[in-house]
């Protein structure tokens, strides 16, 4: 399935959850349930204060994987539409990192697909995170 225009993006700039949900809803009036996940930058990790996160991606592969992921989620869970947005570059503590939305006729597939997409994204999409703290910078090489 070809992704709706703008439904899958990697970008430096911040995003608006309202705009993403509006775009998702615009794709179908049969949508009875929308589940969303918003990943944010924490200010604390492994006993250390974190002031910023820095994200780097293998851009072309990451975007292709995210598109595949969306297509798979739509097919697997029978979604009406889905959106995935991931930021790269530097994001201050408390900032928005990733947004995922799944729209379905009913809530159960929307919830299931949303959870599945963020879990798969973490496993499959070539993006790396560095934590910037007063004690120094460290790349994160594991993710619970």
């Amino acid at each position: 399935m070809e992704g709706s225009k703008g439904a899958v993006r990697i970008q430096q700039e911040d995003f608006s959850q309202d705009e993403e949900i509006r775009a998702l809803k615009a794709s179908s009036k049969r949508m009875g349930g929308i589940a969303t996940f918003l990943g944010c930058a924490r200010d604390f990790s492994d006993e250390r204060e974190v002031t910023q996160l820095a994200f780097e991606a293998y851009g072309s592969m990451a975007l292709a994987e995210m598109n595949k992921l969306r297509d798979e989620a739509i097919t697997r869970f029978g979604l009406l539409d889905a959106r995935i947005v991931h930021r790269i570059g530097t994001i201050g503590a408390g900032g928005q990192i990733v947004f995922i939305a799944a729209g379905a006729e009913h809530r159960a597939p929307a919830f299931d697909a949303c959870r599945w997409m963020i879990d798969e994204l973490k496993q499959r999409v070539p993006i790396w995170k560095k934590e910037v703290s007063p004690q120094g910078d460290a790349w994160v090489t594991q993710h619970p």
Binding site: A57, L121, R124, W128, H143
Partner: protein, 79 residues
């Protein structure tokens, strides 16, 4: 010529994000990896995934063509 891409923690350890490697007939992914691992041991000790031309490749015996783009990547940590 093979273009090598390194990202994030692997690039930091190698001190570079891109490398060029001369192609030779019969070159396989494993040989490339072995040669680069010898040159950049600290970087390659955290390499978990390999991609050729943007597709993840698990078979290290995959033959490489002149002009291929090969990425050696650490475990992903996006999201």
């Amino acid at each position: 010529m093979i273009s090598i891409l390194l990202f994030g923690p692997v690039a930091e350890r190698a001190g570079t994000a891109t490398l060029q490697f001369g192609h030779r007939p019969g070159l396989r992914l494993q040989e490339l990896r072995d040669e680069l691992s010898a040159r950049y041991p600290q970087a390659f000790e955290i390499v978990c995934f390999t991609a050729v031309n943007g597709e993840q490749v698990r078979d290290q015996q995959t033959p490489l063509a002149d002009g291929d783009e090969v990425a050696f990547m650490a475990k992903f940590s996006g999201g």
